[in-house]
């Protein structure tokens, strides 16, 4: 039996910018729109939400995930685990392996291959693959017109799969195109025509040809073809070379709405296709990044119908959006920053208290008093129930949804904190009262009794270290 996809999920930020709004600031023209990360989002927060959706779609216990593989080119730090926070929030266990695949936008399918091999070798049963990118583009560059952000997550396994992976073919050369210097935020490119021709076109075409030869079928046998979409043009040119018809790529098209989402591009395209695919459909997936292309063939199973409408689908994220102007875009991308010294945290992101409380704050673990039932939070601070003085507890998971009990919106904050900043006190679905910052809510829209959900975001950053925690957001 072929291993394959047991469940999948995506995440797209709320904000979009119209490419024409970027272009007109630099006397240019463009069409379509790109997804934009909020200032409290990065690949860790986006990966977490996509992974939560994938776990829900697969219907598995997160503790059964044997390994997590993250494909990305935009890690916040060159050295330091990215996956620990994601794993803590999901609730995997201490035996879960975690690994990051990087280097180029091919990292997403690279992570799929590593996970697949681990399943085939019998090392793990359920594997989680995440592809996420959040690449800031230099103001005024061609990349600024094309770069979008997003994340896709897949639970790979040998059982209960919605699509099986039939064949994988990798084509690699010594060709190099895009690069980002250590210590620099922006991606650079030597000659776009070279990247397009020898790079993207030739590698994706050769990988596809290799895959077709290996299975012994023609391109017309695929109901859906998902190509890496760094711009609007490349998929069209490759389709011409390989004889791919427009209806084969129609469902996979994400560039017009999201832009070049890097490592996550093909896996977001695949999620879009799977949302529409029927049992028996054959899907071709072709990724590319700096001299490597993976071509993957998948066959959809009957299970796809059983798992429809579980979790939040791509179309929900595409529809729930808000346009921002170019000035806001520059601020969110930190290309434009407020002056002055940021207020120093009394306890920076690696303080012992953060290390100690991290898992329960990320996962939202509470200590339910066995006598009065009050949920004390976080447990490591509470050996004595604050309501009744009892000392025995049961660990419980707090629900991630609730309603606002009361709130305020702060307009005067030190540098390093977004203003206006909503501070929300909400009653979660189990009645537990919770306090967290609010994100993506307009001051005039925040109301008592408004539903909210808790999502992982970057809460603070100091000295290059990020602190992640759950914040309230209107449900998407």
């Amino acid at each position: 039996m072929f291993p394959g996809i047991k469940g999948y999920g995506v995440y797209i930020p709320r904000y979009r910018i119209k490419r024409e709004d970027i272009a007109k600031s630099w006397q240019g023209k463009s069409r379509g729109e790109n997804s934009v990360a909020n200032s409290d989002e990065d690949i860790i927060t986006m990966s977490t939400e996509a992974a939560q959706n994938a776990v829900r779609h697969a219907g598995i216990d997160p503790a059964s995930i044997g390994a997590i593989y993250l494909g990305s080119t935009s890690a916040p730090n060159i050295e330091q685990s990215l996956l620990g926070t994601i794993a803590e929030t999901l609730g995997t266990n201490a035996g879960t392996d975690m690994m990051c695949v990087g280097e180029s936008t091919r990292a997403g399918t690279g992570a799929v291959k590593v996970c697949l091999d681990a399943i085939k070798a019998g090392t793990i049963n359920n594997g989680l693959v995440i592809a996420a990118d959040c690449r800031p583009a230099s103001p005024g560059s061609d990349q600024e017109l094309n770069f979008g952000v997003g994340a896709a997550a897949y639970i790979l396994s040998s059982d209960n799969t919605v699509a099986n992976i039939e064949e994988v073919f990798t084509y690699s050369t010594g060709f190099r195109d895009l690069w980002r210097e250590a210590g620099s935020s922006y991606v650079k490119e030597y000659e776009p025509k070279l990247t397009r021709g020898i790079g993207r076109h030739d590698h994706m075409v050769n990988a596809t040809k290799g895959l077709l030869a290996s299975i012994g079928i023609g391109i017309d046998q695929f109901q859906h073809v998902v190509l890496y979409q760094p711009d609007a043009r490349i998929p069209r040119v490759i389709a011409q070379t390989l004889g791919i018809k427009p209806e084969q790529t129609e469902k996979a098209s994400i560039f017009p709405q999201l832009g070049d989402t890097g490592s996550s591009s093909v896996l977001l395209g695949l999620a879009s296709v799977l949302d529409h695919a029927k049992p028996g459909d054959r899907i071709l997936l072709v990724s590319y990044g700096s001299g490597i292309s993976d071509a993957i063939s998948l066959v959809v199973t009957n299970e796809i119908e059983n798992k429809r409408n579980r979790g939040v689908s791509l179309i929900h994220y595409l529809d729930s959006k808000e346009y921002i102007d170019y000035l806001t875009y520059l601020k969110l991308n930190k290309a434009l920053e407020k002056g002055g010294e940021p207020a120093k945290m009394a306890l920076p992101p690696l303080s012992p208290v953060v290390v100690k409380e991290g898992p329960e704050l990320h996962r939202l673990i509470g200590a339910k008093c066995s006598k009065c039932g009050y949920v004390n939070f976080p447990p490591s601070e509470r050996k004595i129930c604050i309501r009744c003085g009892n000392t025995s507890f049961e660990q419980v998971l707090l629900p991630r949804t609730g309603k606002i009990h009361t709130f305020c919106i702060s307009y005067y904050l030190p540098k390093g904190m977004e203003s206006p900043l909503p501070i929300i006190i909400a009653d979660l679905d189990d009645g537990t009262r919770h306090r967290a910052l609010g994100t993506e809510m307009k001051p005039e829209e925040v109301k008592i009794d408004m539903p909210v959900e808790l999502v992982l975001r970057e809460l603070a950053s100091e000295g290059g270290l990020n602190l992640y925690a759950n914040v309230f957001r209107p449900p998407r």
Binding site: G340, A343, K344, M345, A346, L347, P348, P349, S351, V353, V354, E357, L361, F377, P378, I386, H405, T406, F407, C408, I409, S410, Y411, Y412, L413, P414, K415, G416, M417, P420, L421, I423, I425, R433, H434, R435, L437, P443, I448, L459, A460, L467, A469
Partner: protein, 393 residues
């Protein structure tokens, strides 16, 4: 009937404000000298057997670990035992409580309490840095404003309290502040002025908030039975109550009441053997307009939910049923945390003595009781209530 074991024989303040020209030492010296020089029958500093210093944010004038010597060492009292109290907004009133306990214990006959706070040694921007203090996750973004404002949102939702009613607290206190020579602000405002001032933390505008103020205040207390050595008109400590509540905001059960205030008030009334109806004047905690509205309810001046209507009906005006913050309160006088509670005690001292100090704002003394109140600290969970009286029965 009341506790009455300790008497206040002298109080003193300096004018509150942006005191760039007065370092910490000068503020403390002046408040101390104003106090001992005001004592009716004269005062010899050698009588002071113990001292308490209230300073909530010594770090904000560069003295992270100020300790008791930050008082005695700079006013010529080196040698006298001195304890530094740091306890949120009730810092000054709690230093006073501890001094009372010291005297009532019989160990000391006479004690000095000084409360002082330097809020302007650093930039205002640095004061906002409190938003990054405490637990990095659970208290991120927590400032005084973000702790108090949610109570306003909820009170408005549950009881229909209006922004106008909140503003009326500021209008009343500004009107009172004009008459107080120690007040930081001395100008009247209108409800419209409050609405036109910048939004600081929804639902509170700038004029809903007390200013950033330097200040110092002091009091001399002694055993009640020896007060006549210093004055023929001592003011007695009829009772006090202190209470705490939960540490984190998410642990609070109720956002329309400061539970610590209610408990502290109950204890103080019981100790004084009186009820809210016996209070002639109250100096209560109005760091924000909503705080004063909640105080009315927590201290029993009106029913729960009626706080907004109480101010609207003018019942807390200087000539109203229960005059509140005749000194202008924190909103105009300012809130130098360590000094605040002691300055409130000073106002009650003058009012209950019907002293010439407060000629221009004297309220009618019917029962002879005045009430001082603070609430604050993390989670707004620290409250102190002191009841003073001009009678010993």
């Amino acid at each position: 009937m009341g506790w009455n074991k300790v008497a206040v024989v002298g109080v003193g303040l300096i004018k509150f404000g942006e005191l760039f020209d007065k370092p910490w030492e000068v503020m403390v010296e002046e408040a101390y000298l104003n106090t001992i020089n005001s004592i009716d029958k004269g005062f010899d500093p050698k009588d002071i057997q113990a001292a308490w210093l209230g300073d909530d944010r010594p770090g904000s004038h560069g003295q992270e670990t100020i300790s008791g010597t930050g008082l005695t060492g700079i006013i010529g009292l080196a040698g006298v035992p001195c304890t530094h109290v740091e306890n949120g907004c009730p810092t000054g009133s709690d230093a006073f409580r501890n001094a009372c306990l010291g005297v009532a214990s019989g160990v000391y006959d006479v004690a000095l309490v000084v409360g002082a706070e330097k809020m302007h040694e650093f930039s205002s921007a640095r004061l906002l840095g409190i938003a990054t203090q405490g637990n990095p996750v659970l208290q991120r973004g927590e400032t005084a404003m973000t702790m108090f404002a949610p109570q306003a949102t909820r009170h408005m939702y549950e009881f229909g309290t209006t922004k106008e009613q909140l503003a009326m607290v500021a209008v009343k206190n500004h009107k009172n502040g004009v008459l107080d020579p120690y007040s930081h602000y001395k100008y009247e405002i209108t409800v419209q002025d409050v609405f036109n001032s910048p939004m600081v933390c929804y639902p509170l505008n700038l004029y809903d908030c007390c200013p950033q103020t330097d200040g110092a205040a002091a009091a001399i207390i002694c055993r009640a039975d020896m007060a006549d050595k210093y004055t023929d008109k001592p003011i007695y400590v009829a009772g006090f109550g202190m209470a705490t509540d939960v540490f984190y905001l998410h642990e609070k059960e109720c956002f329309t009441e400061f539970v610590a205030s209610t408990k502290a008030a109950k204890r103080a009334y019981k100790m004084a053997g009186i009820g809210p109806q016996d209070i002639d004047i109250a100096e209560l905690h109005d760091c924000f307009t909503i705080t004063e509205i909640l105080d009315y309810e927590d201290l029993g001046f009106c029913d729960k939910g009626e706080g907004g209507k109480l101010v609207e009906r003018g019942e807390t005006e200087s000539d109203g049923r229960i005059p509140c913050n005749v000194s202008g309160g924190l909103i105009t006088k300012g809130h130098p945390l360590g000094a605040t509670g002691i300055a409130q005690i000073a106002e009650l001292f003058w009012q209950l003595r019907e002293d010439k100090q407060c000629d221009n704002r004297q309220v009618k003394i019917k029962h002879g009781y005045g009430l001082q109140h603070n609430v604050g600290g993390r989670g707004i969970s620290n409250s102190m209530v002191t009841i003073l009286s001009n009678r010993v029965d």
